[in-house]
C-alpha cells in the first residue's frame, strides 16, 4: 500500500484487503493457502490477480466474497469491515459483490430460462416481478443478447459465449460495487474469449465497473487489468500498474512467468531453461523467500529472511531482496 502513497489518481477505495490469511488443515499438516495478502481496488479500475495453480488467488477471492471466512485479516468493502458481519448485514454486503464464474453452465440451473437466471439476484433482493423484468431485459441488451430472442431460451440451449454473457448480466443485476471474475474466460475458445474480453472492456467504460479479475492467463490479465498483483505460494510477490509488471518485472518469479508465455512471433526467454523444481515437503515453514529454490538471482539472505513487499517506484512494489530490473523479452524481427 505504501507504494501507492502520494499517487494522484488513487480515487475512492472500493475494496481494501489487509493481511489476509487462510489456514487449511490442522496441526503439523496445516499450511497457509493465503499468507498475509494485502491489496486495494479503487473505483472504476480492474485489478488483475495472477498466479499459477495453488498460489492462493482463488482462495483470496473466496474470502473476499465471504464464501469461506478468512483465518485472519481484514476485508473492507467501501469502508465497511466484512469479516465481522453476520446474518442479514452480511447478506446485504454480499449482494454488492458479484461473481462471474469460470463455467457458465455449471453455475446456473439448466432448466431455467435466461430471464430467470438473470433475475435471480433481484428475486433474492425482493424486487417486484414487473420491475425486475424491465431490468433483466435492459441487462440482456447491455451484454449483447436480444431479450426477445434469448430471454425465454433455457440456459442449456446457449453456446459457451452466450452462457458467459448471461453470467455477466446476472452479476450486474444488482449494480454491484465490486465484480469478481474468477477465470471467467479460461474455458472459452479463443474466438469466443475475444468477444467476452471486448464485452468486459465495453462494460467497464460504460458502467465504470470495479473488478477483481483472477486468472492464470497472462495475456488475458494484461488485456483487462489496470493494475496487477502477482501471487506465488500464498503471497503477493509483485504489484504494480499493468505496464510496469509486464514491461519491467522486478520479481524473478514474475520474470519467469513472462518468459514462459508462448506467443506467436515472440521468442521465449532463456529463463525457461531451468532444471525442474525438486518438490519441497509441504507444511515445512521455509524461513526465507519461497521462490528462492527456483530463483536464478537468489543469494544467502533469500534462504534466511522473508522479503517484504517493498516499493521500487511509485505504484510498483516487489517482495525480492535482489530485484531484476530487466525488461521482458523483445519481439522477433520475423513477427507478422
Amino acid at each position: 500500500m505504501s507504494a501507492r502513497a502520494g499517487h494522484q489518481e488513487l480515487g475512492e477505495v472500493v475494496l481494501q484487503v489487509k493481511d489476509l490469511r487462510q489456514l487449511y488443515g490442522h496441526g503439523k499438516r496445516a499450511f497457509h493457502a493465503v499468507d498475509g495478502v494485502s491489496f486495494t481496488v479503487f473505483r472504476g479500475e480492474t485489478l488483475g490477480l495472477v498466479g499459477e495453480s495453488g498460489c492462493g488467488k482463488s482462495t483470496t477471492a473466496r474470502a473476499v466474497l465471504g464464501i469461506r471466512p478468512p483465518t485472519a485479516g481484514s476485508i473492507a468493502l467501501s469502508g465497511a469491515e466484512l469479516t465481522t458481519l453476520r446474518g442479514r448485514a452480511l447478506r446485504e454486503a454480499r449482494s454488492s459483490m458479484q461473481l462471474v464464474f469460470q463455467d457458465p453452465y455449471n453455475s446456473v440451473n439448466p432448466r431455467w430460462t435466461v430471464r430467470q437466471v438473470v433475475a435471480e439476484p433481484l428475486r433474492l433482493a425482493r424486487w417486484t416481478s414487473s420491475k425486475a423484468r424491465t431490468r433483466v431485459d435492459e441487462l440482456l441488451d447491455l451484454v449483447g443478447l436480444d431479450p426477445a430472442r434469448f430471454g425465454d431460451r433455457s440456459a442449456r440451449q446457449l453456446s459457451g459465449g452466450q452462457a458467459q454473457r448471461v453470467g455477466i448480466a446476472r452479476a450486474l443485476t444488482t449494480d454491484p460495487e465490486l465484480l469478481v471474475c474468477d477465470e471467467a474466460v479460461s474455458a472459452l475458445d479463443v474466438s469466443v474469449q475475444a468477444q467476452i474480453l471486448n464485452l468486459l472492456d465495453q462494460l467497464k467504460r460504460e458502467l465504470s465497473l470495479t473488478t477483481l479479475f483472477i486468472s492464470h492467463d497472462l495475456g488475458v490479465v494484461r488485456h483487462v487489468s489496470d493494475r496487477v498483483a502477482v501471487m506465488y505460494k500464498g503471497r503477493i510477490v509483485e504489484t504494480g500498474e499493468s505496464d510496469q509488471i509486464f514491461q519491467n518485472p522486478q520479481h524473478h518469479y514474475t520474470s519467469l512467468l513472462l518468459h514462459s508465455v508462448l506467443e506467436v512471433g515472440v521468442e521465449p526467454g532463456s529463463a525457461t531453461r531451468r532444471p525442474i523444481e525438486v518438490q519441497a515437503s509441504q507444511g515445512d515453514p521455509a524461513a526465507g523467500c519461497l521462490f528462492a529454490p527456483r530463483c536464478p538471482g537468489a543469494g544467502d539472505i533469500c534462504r534466511t529472511t522473508k522479503p517484504e513487499l517493498t516499493p521500487i517506484s511509485l505504484s510498483h512494489a516487489a517482495a525480492c531482496h535482489f530485484p531484476t530490473g530487466v525488461a521482458g523479452p523483445t519481439r522477433r524481427s520475423t513477427s507478422q
Binding site: 475475444a194 514462459s260 508462448l262 521465449p268 518438490q279
Partner: protein, 327 residues
Amino acid sequence: MSDVVVAIEDLHVTFSTPRGEVRALRGVSLEVRAGRMVCLIGESGSGKSVTGRALMGLLPAHSARIGPGSMRLHQEELLGKSESAMRSIRGRRIAMIFQDPSRALNPTRRIGDQVGEAIKIHFPERRPSAVRSKVLEHLDSVKLPDAARVAKKYPHELSGGMRQRVAIAMALSAEPEVLVADEPTTALDVTTQVQILDLLRSLQRSRGMSVLLITHDMGVAAHYADDVAVMYAGRVVERAPAAELFADVEMPYTQALLESLPSARAGRGALRTIPGGPPDLALGISGCAFAPRCRFVTSQCKQQPATREVAGDHVFECWHPVGKESR
C-alpha cells in the same frame, strides 16, 4: 515422399448420437513426416482429438463409423484393421499421451511397477532385472530427478508436471515411431508447460521420432511445431511448415484466430473477434464451412474450395486467401 510416416487422406468419421449423425471428420488430410513435430490445431469441436483417436484406433466402436478415407502407417493401411491387429500397433508403433496424465496411471501402484509393466507388455522376453534397469533408464530419459526415488512413489505423490513426465516415459517405453500427444500441457501451469514441451521436443529429436501434437494453443504451435495443420469443422483447412505458415497465413480463419489472441507483450486495444460460432456438424455443410463467419465471403464460397498449394508445401482450402504468396 518416402519419409512420410503417417498419411491420413480424406478421412471421414461419423458419430451416431441421439441428435442424429454427427459428421466429426469430413475429409481430413494430413501427413506426418519422419522426425517432425506436427501441431494439429483447432478450437473445441473442430475434430482434432477425433483425428488423434482415429489414428490410435481408440474411437468407440458402437457409435463411431470410420471411413471412407485412408490412414496409413508407412505403406500399411490402418483403416479396417481388426482390434487384435491394432493391438500390435497401438502403444508399440504409435503411442499416445493425454491432457490428464492420471488417465495413464494406476493410483494404487508405484510408478516403477507401472513403467515396468508397460515394458513387459511390449517386451515379454525381457528378464525382471533387465526390466528394472530399463525402468530407471526411462524415468531418467524424461529428466525426472532421482529416478530411483520417483520409482518408489505413488502417482498422487508427484506434481502434475512430474506425472506427465512419467506418462511420457511409459508411452515411449516401446520405442514407438509416432507419439500422439493430445493437449499434453493444457492442464499444467505455464512454467511447467514449457518444461514438458521442451522435453517432448528433445526426445523427438534425439530419437528421430514423429510427434502429432494436438493443441488449441497457437503459441504452442508457433514455438514447437515443425509443421502446422489448422482444423475447422472436421477438415484441415490450412497446413504448412510452421515458419511458412506464421510468416504468411492464407486462410482467413487462421488469420482471425491469430488476431483474437490477447497478448502479454502488447498493450490493450480491442481484440478481433470472429462473429457467430462453428457450424453444427449434425447438419449438412456445403461449401466452405467457415463462410458464414468470414469477412471475405462471396457467393463462390457456397462451393467447396479446391485444395490449393503455394510455395513451400503450404496447402489450404479457400477461394479468397489472404496471404502474399497466393496473390
